[in-house]
């Protein structure tokens, strides 16, 4: 049985749900070192310019997607533009949750200086965030975190691929002192 072909079929069937390496290992009954070359072969095949699909690793799952450069053609398939984007406010709330998860809604409100209740509800409905537990604070408010769909939505492989936050240049004198001392002792 050609596993490369089987993987291709699985990815086709799974669509935007994708499949994790773990699940693949189980279905094909192989270990990771065996699996990786098959995946690589498939990936390489799709990289050929005469292929219309490619394998993406999104939100920790392998998915079959179309290629960016063909977008203009696919757009002609739809009558009107249907893709909607998140509002800046929703993005703001989402970004705060992504970098501070798990986080309560109150904390998001605090950072934004304005209520985020309807935004959080919207993000929950879109499946971009989910409840991940309860805080120990009074009232045991829900803690929120981002989902695999969130990573997919922004084309990220894993949570480690979040854009890095540029820390403000204003390092306190205290930290500077500490760091200089540290280098000296080294």
């Amino acid at each position: 049985m050609n596993l490369t072909a089987v993987i291709e079929g699985i990815l086709f069937l799974k669509g935007n749900e994708g499949i994790s390496v773990e699940e693949l290992k189980e279905i094909l009954n192989v270990d990771e070192p065996t699996l990786v070359p098959y995946l690589d072969t498939l990936k390489k095949m799709y990289e050929e310019p005469n292929r219309g699909l490619k394998i993406d690793y999104l939100g920790g799952r392998l998915k079959l997607t179309t290629k960016k450069e063909h977008k203009e053609y696919y757009e002609k398939l739809t009558e009107e533009e249907i893709s909607s984007t998140l509002s800046p406010a929703a993005l703001e709330a989402l970004v705060i949750i992504a970098y501070n998860q798990p986080i309560t809604r109150i904390k998001v409100d605090e950072i934004r200086g304005v209520s985020s209740q309807h935004l959080v509800r919207k993000l929950l409905l879109k499946g971009l965030i989910k409840e991940v537990g309860k805080s120990d604070q009074p009232g045991r408010p829900n803690l929120y975190g981002t989902t695999s769909e969130f990573l997919d939505y922004f084309g990220l492989k894993t949570i480690n691929d979040l854009p890095k936050i540029e820390e403000p240049e204003s390092l306190d004198e205290e930290t500077n002192l500490f760091e200089s001392k540290y280098t000296e002792t080294l």
């Binding site: 893709s83 970004v95 705060i96 939505y153 990220l156």
Partner: protein, 241 residues
């Protein structure tokens, strides 16, 4: 005429403050609380004049700013002691910097969002039609027979739930006729379970059958036996000696 950015363009008071600071073209750490308070209140007042609804958060921030300003005007000799009071202005600036940190990330997420939208995926295929029903249920000690019996009982109960047959065709049952029938049955089967005689679920039939049983018993033709309370009742013909 100067283009006025209305309050609806802002996502809350911190956003507005950042906007004002940006307009003043100064570093966020160098902001004069007096100046920013003035600007902020000006803005809020302009919006009021334009009859725009101002959300309460903006008013809370206005009062916070005024409080910070008033504190900064007071001589601060009396808070030398060990109680550490955080400078409210610093707190506000920290909040602004923190907020700005995320706000500035929004465009890069918008870029990511746009990029991702250039790729399409399809919904997962519906594989349910290929599903093999192989779900094994843990039956524990149960056997197939138990299940079948349970199902039979269920059907029986179901049967009893049915409204009684309401055929209007008048079929007269007579105790005498039923007596003979029961005798015949007993002759054939020797011993029979009480309930077996009630094979037709009609009120007449049940009543007549019951009367027959009583009648036969009275005539000493029938022997009725029950081993214990609630056990099954068996009927047999009394040996005619």
């Amino acid at each position: 005429m100067e283009y006025v950015v209305t309050i609806d363009n802002f996502d809350g008071p911190l956003d507005l403050l950042l906007h004002l600071i940006k307009k003043m073209d100064i570093d966020i750490n160098e902001v004069s609380i007096e100046e920013i308070t003035k600007q902020y209140l000006n803005y809020i007042n302009t919006m009021k004049e334009m009859n725009l609804d101002i959300a309460s958060e903006y008013l809370v921030m206005a009062s916070e700013l005024m409080e910070i300003k008033s504190i900064s005007l007071l001589p601060k000799s009396h808070i030398e002691e060990d109680e550490y009071v955080e400078d409210p202005k610093e707190t506000l600036i920290k909040r602004l910097i923190e907020y700005r940190k995320y706000k500035e990330l929004v465009p890069s997420f918008q870029d990511l969002e746009d990029e991702r939208k250039k790729e399409y995926t399809k919904s997962p295929s519906d594989l349910s039609e290929f599903k093999v029903v192989d779900e094994e249920i843990d039956l524990g000690d149960l056997s197939l027979d138990d299940l079948m019996n349970a199902f039979k009982d269920f059907l029986k109960r179901k049967e009893l739930e049915k409204p009684l047959n309401t055929k209007i065709t008048k079929r007269e049952y007579s105790v005498k006729k039923r007596n003979n029938e029961i005798r015949d049955i007993l002759k054939k089967k020797k011993k029979i379970e009480f309930e077996e005689l009630f094979d037709i679920m009609s009120k007449d039939y049940i009543v007549v059958t019951f009367l027959s049983i009583l009648d036969l018993a009275r005539k000493q033709d029938l022997c009725i036996k029950q081993d214990d309370n609630f056990k099954k009742i068996y009927l047999s013909l009394r040996e005619s000696d």
